[in-house]
């Protein structure tokens, strides 16, 4: 239960950090290669937030584009998928960015 489980994690982490203060906004970073669909997180968020200090909070999601580095020639490559071919012909690409799944910041009302 992937996005639902992930959203439950988000609510649990933010609730813990916020304590008794109400949360106005939650900002996430989701990499485009993370296998997580932002829309599915948005879909789950309001449901998971109900009855918690996050209820009614705004959800902002910053999507991070994929970036890889070729292990053969060192070139940096934009990644739309995990698999890519470098212009030098190598398939050995290390993913530098795009797999993020982070809670960047929260805004609370004291």
């Amino acid at each position: 239960m992937h996005e639902l489980g992930i959203t439950e994690n988000i609510v649990a982490i933010v609730s813990e950090k916020a304590g008794n203060t109400r949360v106005k906004r939650v900002m996430l970073e989701i990499g485009q290669l993370s296998a997580i669909m932002p829309d599915a997180i948005r879909f789950c968020f309001d449901v998971c937030a109900q009855g918690t200090v996050l209820e009614g909070a705004e959800l902002e999601i910053a999507e991070i584009a994929g970036l890889g580095q070729c292990c053969a020639c060192g070139a940096e490559i934009k990644l739309k998928m995990l698999a890519a071919v470098c212009s030098c012909g190598s398939l050995d690409i290390e993913c530098l960015r795009g797999k993020e799944l982070n809670i960047k910041e929260i805004e609370v009302i004291d």
Binding site: M1, E3, N9, A40, Q50, G56
Partner: protein, 262 residues
């Protein structure tokens, strides 16, 4: 609810509209005097920003790391077997247990949404097994493994085979603390599965191409399949096997035994 794999039961029925502006007060609004204050919705109030920079899966990763440390401390080779449903994971385990049980101690954790059918099969094959039913969940997570280990208690210098829920998407995200992921792909599936589900094939150390005995009866391009797999994971080790005839299993066993000896 999990839109990626469609796994869920009653989650949709929980969808109800959420009131952004809800407040409780014991007076009514029937009074006639005017007042110039407004009940500010949360969105209008100024807040204090707290930077978290926290990984959403940090808790799972933390427990997985504990599992991994424990496996290393008692020299248990823990493998996470992943595949789509019906690839033959359980048959492969049955055969592996039957062929190796006199050489190494083996224990199995069986993950399924429901039933203990697979655990029964593994028990009959002759090793200790614990069934984990995930209910609506579509993958095992590290805390399920941590709890199961307390009950299963794998012995020192043994092999722990974790059969994950049949699903090529979600299990790729959840580290269990295993040494390696073993992806099983059967040739009754499409040869392009590796590029359709790149995360899983990328995360795996080894791919077992199962049901190879059926090749004469199918239109399956083995070389294309291997190329697809290597295009998402150039380091992937690929072994063609048949859990039914035993073809290719010696190579799989050699890889397993080398992992335990390390």
């Amino acid at each position: 609810m999990c839109v990626t794999c469609g796994c869920s039961d009653d989650s949709a029925t929980k969808m109800t509209s959420t009131a952004v502006h809800s407040h409780e007060h014991d007076h009514t609004h029937e009074h006639e005097h005017k007042h110039d204050h407004t009940h500010e919705p949360t969105s209008m109030q100024k807040g204090r920003v707290i930077t978290l920079e926290e990984k959403i899966l940090a808790k799972n990763d933390h427990i997985a790391e504990h599992n991994r440390e424990w496996f290393e401390s008692v020299n248990v080779l823990a493998l996470n077997l992943v595949s789509s449903p019906g690839s033959g994971k359980t048959a492969l385990l049955e055969r592996t247990i039957s062929d190796l049980k006199n050489k190494v101690e083996i224990a199995v954790l069986e993950g399924d949404q429901a039933t203990s059918n697979d655990a029964e099969r593994i028990r009959r094959a002759g090793c200790s097994v614990l069934q984990i039913n995930t209910g609506a969940g579509c993958h095992l997570d590290a805390s399920m493994i941590a709890s199961a280990l307390k009950e299963l208690k794998p012995t020192h210098n043994s092999l722990l085979l974790i059969e994950n829920v049949g699903n090529l998407v979600c299990p790729a995200l959840f580290d269990l603390g295993e040494k390696h992921k073993v992806v099983v792909l059967s040739i009754t599936e499409g040869e392009d599965k590796p590029i359709k589900y790149p995360h899983m094939f990328r995360a795996a150390e080894i791919m077992l191409l199962n049901k190879i005995d059926l090749l004469p009866h199918l239109n399956f391009d083995i070389e294309a399949c291997k190329q697809y797999a290597l295009s998402v994971n150039p380091k992937l080790k690929i072994i063609e096997v048949s859990a039914t005839t035993g073809q290719g299993l010696e190579q799989w066993y050699e890889w397993l035994m080398a992992g335990i000896a390390c």
